[in-house]
């Protein structure tokens, strides 16, 4: 097996929440855990999906991977080489390999630059190229992302949503990046435009052999686009598996609930509107307050268990509780 292109181990991010003044009393810092020991690895040319609801930490994870958040005590490896995102040289290497396309194209494109200048921003600065060569490069990537050449001298506000997202894509692929992080790249677009962008992404992946980390809340898109998928809930990966395994045989109760709630054209069973759901738990398993299969063991933090090709973080699949899981499943 090849070495994975990107490897992340034990990524934990906490945000400091200051509580003082209005609440009265002493200024105390509270820590809010946003991501809790995330470990993922992505191979070359693979599409890795991360699916989760609001507040699950999807976007924070994306930002940590490109070094916008710089967590301590976490190992990020590119091609086996360890990266410390707080060192400048390492950060440059990281950013050269990994690009990001943000959810909101309006906020991520500088409205004062022309499209071709925006795309050029993605070119590494140490490449000594003449102006003609740069222009040629821009035209080449514009062709890749199916952006008409006439738009290159426009400014972002003149573009439609789909075109803006194409510009964001062009900016990341011009530097020859190997992994693109796509943070909800299509959720602000109309469905027919979303489909065009998805087709484009699939084509780019084949032609440029780039890998994607595809972050979205849309299960239909994840299912269609990804080779492997991780299910994120309240900062923890509860299940990781191939897309087929995850959608056909979800293991974790949360994955089951999530996939069961998905709307598809072929019809969804609306009669079972699901069970009551509670807040994410701060102790033990994060999903225990909403879990229909909760039992005694769930008060303790479950281990990450290997199951076939995937991983699941649930006590139901622990050897000691096998009897519980089979019993619960038959009811």
């Amino acid at each position: 097996m090849n070495e994975p292109l990107l490897e992340v181990e034990n990524l934990t991010i906490q945000f400091r929440v200051k509580t003082k003044l209005l609440q009265g009393g002493q200024s105390t810092d509270k820590w809010k855990r946003v991501l809790n020991s995330i470990s993922i690895s992505i191979n070359e040319g693979e599409t890795f999906g991360i699916v989760g609801e609001t507040g699950s930490g999807k976007t924070t994870l994306a930002r940590a991977l490109v070094g916008i958040h710089k967590p301590k005590n976490c190992t990020i490896k590119i091609n086996g080489k360890k990266i410390d995102s707080r060192k400048r040289d390492d950060l440059l290497l990281l950013r050269r390999k990994i690009g990001i396309v943000f959810q909101d194209p309006v906020g991520s494109l500088n409205p004062r630059l022309t499209v071709s200048d925006i795309i050029l921003e993605g070119l590494p600065t140490d490449k000594k190229l003449s102006n003609e060569e740069r222009e040629g490069k821009v035209k080449e990537v514009a062709k890749y992302v199916e952006l008409p050449e006439s738009k290159l001298e426009s400014y972002p506000p003149e573009l439609s949503g789909g075109e803006k997202q194409r510009v964001s894509l062009a900016r990341t692929i011009i530097g020859g990046k190997k992994i693109l992080i796509l943070d909800e790249p299509t959720s602000s677009l109309d469905v027919s435009i979303q489909a065009q962008i998805l087709n484009l992404l699939i084509r780019l992946k084949k032609e440029l052999s780039v890998g994607y980390i595809f972050i979205t809340h849309d299960l239909n898109v994840i299912k269609y686009m990804c080779d492997r998928v991780a299910v994120l809930y309240y900062g923890e990966i509860l299940e990781q598996n191939t897309a087929f395994e995850l959608f056909e045989h979800p293991k974790h109760p949360y994955s089951e609930d999530l996939i069961g709630a998905n709307f598809s054209l072929s019809g969804t069973n609306l009669s079972t509107t699901g069970h009551e759901s509670g807040e994410p738990s701060k102790e033990g398993c994060v999903y225990k307050n909403s879990c229909p299969k909760r039992f005694v063991a769930c008060d303790e933090d479950p281990p990450i268990l290997n199951l076939g090709k995937g991983q699941v973080k649930c006590w139901l699949y622990d050897e000691r509780y096998k009897s519980v899981s089979t019993k619960k499943n038959t009811i």
């Binding site: 027919s192 489909a195 239909n220 709307f263 054209l265 019809g267 699901g274």
Partner: protein, 331 residues
């Protein structure tokens, strides 16, 4: 007039919009937003209006409930009949259809709920519109009963809370509860679950459909999401650039879409895994209403375009049963 057998039973039709035409007019330009729209909703029916941005679906909903800003909007032609009465052109005298007659749930509950009213006061306001003479004690009882009907567990805890303190799903529940107090005959839902998490979305839709049974109202669902419409609606109208391009039974349209735009809309929703090939969509974006192409507005993206499509605008014609299509292919 259309020859529909059901029209014999006049009382069965709850809402009828005939040849509605809405323009947005400013000093120097006129934009035709709705063109010749005719829709019909029977009692107890769930009718969907599906379209992408700029199709005019929200304008249609606003015109029906009478919250369209005039000016810039200008209603040129057409009539809207509700329970056999003309509710348009709107005059203050016959304006009382709002609330008990027609009620609306908006996409973003944070903007439709009053931020300086607690949940209790919002609910009381909703009661006061219909039944101002009720005793205080009865009002309190109704508030608590309705809130528990929308599956809010901790009713007492929520009463003195303000909208910004609630989660998205809870806010939408409160706005549903406010509508529920009035028991409207027609409920308009404008993208009721866009922006909500999947599991919450599923619960809210289940809740709406259950409540529809209890208060026996009809629903007009405005959405961009064909998958949501597929799971809720009996009949749908597909809109493109201000016109209805296809209408009929939901199941018929899904199984056998006739207008090329409907086909594209259906193909845009990824249903399976990637090995099933690229999504079948054509290039281009929904047109700018300020600058519509001549003839059929869809002809620039249509795979079956003919000479005639570029010149003449197709009219909605009955093809089979309740099915209507506006396309020259079926001439």
């Amino acid at each position: 007039m259309m020859s529909i057998p059901l029209r014999d039973k006049l009382s069965a039709t709850l809402l009828e919009v005939n040849n509605l035409q809405v323009n947005f007019e400013t000093v120097d330009r006129k934009i035709e937003v709705l063109k010749d729209i005719s829709i019909r909703i029977e009692r107890g029916e769930v009718v969907g209006v599906v379209g992408e941005s700029g199709s005019g679906k929200s304008t249609l909903a606003q015109a029906i409930i009478g919250v369209l800003d005039v000016p810039p909007a200008k209603i040129n032609e057409g009539s809207i009949q509700f329970e056999g009465k003309d509710i348009f052109p709107k005059s203050d005298k016959n304006n009382n259809f709002r609330g008990k007659g027609i009620n609306m749930i908006f996409q973003e509950p944070l903007t439709s709920l009053n931020p300086v009213y607690s949940v209790h006061d919002q609910m009381e306001e909703a009661i006061n519109i219909g039944n101002p003479a009720l005793k205080k004690k009865d009002k309190e009882e109704i508030i608590r009963k309705t809130l528990s009907e929308v599956m809010i567990r901790d009713v007492e805890g929520i009463l003195n809370v303000y909208p910004h303190q609630l989660s998205g799903g809870m806010r939408q529940r409160v706005s549903i509860a406010m509508v529920l107090i009035q028991k409207p005959n027609l409920l308009i839902l404008d993208e009721p679950t866009t922006g909500l998490d999947l599991i919450v979305q599923r619960k809210i839709i289940g809740l709406i459909l259950n409540l529809k049974q209890t208060i026996s109202s009809s629903i007009l669902l405005i959405t961009h999401d064909l998958a949501v419409a597929a799971n809720m609606c009996d009949r749908i109208y597909v809109m493109y650039a201000g016109r209805v391009v296809e209408s009929g039974r939901m199941s018929d349209i899904l199984n056998n879409p006739q207008h090329p735009y409907t086909t594209m809309l259906k193909n845009s929703v990824p249903e399976g895994y990637m090995d099933e090939g690229p999504l079948k969509v054509s290039a281009g974006a929904p047109p700018d209403l300020r600058d519509l192409p001549p003839g059929c507005a869809f002809h620039t993206r249509c795979p079956f375009v003919m000479d005639r499509c570029k010149k003449d605008i197709p009219i909605l014609k009955q093809v089979k049963g309740e099915r209507e299509v506006a396309c020259w292919l079926y001439e």
